[in-house]
Symmetry: C2
Subunit: 315 residues, 2 copies
Amino acid sequence: MAGGTRAEGALLGIDLGGTQVKAARFSPSGEREAVARADSPAREDAGAILEALLAAARELFPDGGPAGIGIGVAGVLDIEEGRIIQSPNLPALSAYPLRNRLQSALGGVPIRMMNDANAAALGEFHAGAGLPFRSMVLLTLGTGVGGGIVFDGKIWEGAAGVAGEVGHMCIQAGGPLCSCGARGCLEACVSGWALVREAKIIASRNPASPIASMTDLTPKRLAELALAGDAEVRALWEKCGRMLGIGIANLMNLLNPEAIILAGGLAQAGPLLLDPARKAWEMQAFRRAYVSSQVLPASLGEWAGVRGAIQPFLS
Amino acid sequence: MAGGTRAEGALLGIDLGGTQVKAARFSPSGEREAVARADSPAREDAGAILEALLAAARELFPDGGPAGIGIGVAGVLDIEEGRIIQSPNLPALSAYPLRNRLQSALGGVPIRMMNDANAAALGEFHAGAGLPFRSMVLLTLGTGVGGGIVFDGKIWEGAAGVAGEVGHMCIQAGGPLCSCGARGCLEACVSGWALVREAKIIASRNPASPIASMTDLTPKRLAELALAGDAEVRALWEKCGRMLGIGIANLMNLLNPEAIILAGGLAQAGPLLLDPARKAWEMQAFRRAYVSSQVLPASLGEWAGVRGAIQPFLS
């Protein structure tokens, strides 16, 4: 780590997302000992968010504070300054000097911040499915699509900390509009919200589809319909899987990482998504690339980020 | 370098491509002193290719051999073994132990091999447009599209040496068929051969187009037609530029390198290609990514590869 700090005591890992704050206490060697979670006070001011983090610290460390705190934050960060530059999901924190404020409140404890997707990638790399590998790309398939790139054991941040935006790689020029304003991004073709968008199109074209009468249109419900044999919904997953396979093939041909790790709720759809994905990457990637880049499920689930966040204190 | 060899005398750099062998003598500090070139005996056997390389060595080193030889080869290599695994452009060299044979013929001189696109990237990085940067992607826009990725001063080879295949990143799912067998690759949308393919479509649809009567349909001629005001051909370059911009945006969002360096004949088309490309990457990439990843022309021209090939002896 840049500061060279090494924690002697227990560590606090925090994953500060748009909907939840997850936190965990870790032993000095990185074993998770206790967890806490709270709703993210995303609509409130920065002070309320700071208070939620302090509450998690007090809950997990009732007798004296942590030796170090690692925080993964959804947003673009100035890592050197410990400041959030921009966070669409936590607008109150934009330009907020989170590290300094937290440090003041907790008596100068060392704090390291990183992007939440990078934190999840580091967590899987050091303590999860990425353990056997030296290079890895994490692809988080949830409501949106995020990711992180690890080369030679280190997160690749890029020139301005933007690297690893795997969800915003265009795979279909002129394709569907993405949350980022561009078109045809992987996220616009494969995410939870993209699936729901496509399902709504099915419902509008075919009022007899069971989708048309659904009140809770979620990827999970769409997976159930496909597994129950609905041909239209099955085709929707197949298309989604093909697009995922193209995105994975791009990572193979560009980066040929030792592993591509799939995390997030959508990855739970299993063969429904992965069978067409595999067909697509075997069509699209160089054989030498896809036989040397393994595609594997993540293993830390929702706790990857908190684990990755404390990594700077361990290595 | 892996072997730790450091040349005391002059060095020989070779760029072994499908159509030409380029070679140059370099001072021990990497200054180019003399060059030689010959047609690649691509259709002949491996012995003829070996002889062409030896002839270049004799021409450039009439009095005693080089202290080290670096070779960039078009193909997939086993770098440790100094063997060419597969080379579509030099089929006679597939599975040929080039390094050992050359070494035997030249009395055990140290030889380092690398992929030719990686050699060009290393050349631009250490002695060309990439000099001011720590991370860089080279994009070579020629008949095909190649590339190389430099992170923290080193070529990113990937798990099996396939990394950097920038031309085979899909930007248009289900798009035009590529030379690699996949669809919608950057090369299938932006290369010299893709431009010619699109021009032929124009000619077949519109016999009045000046393209229809052309006997030498090349990107250079197509650039002349566009600059002379042909609206159809100008639209063709614009589309090509937009697709290039999408590919560049992908590199920005995924890798956010300090620089993206454009080389190759097609890059000579200048604003015809780059104006629409810039518009596309400003639409498609995150602002923070495109303001921090500079796009620049290469500066070593066709000699980037020979310069990069000797880099292992200099660093």
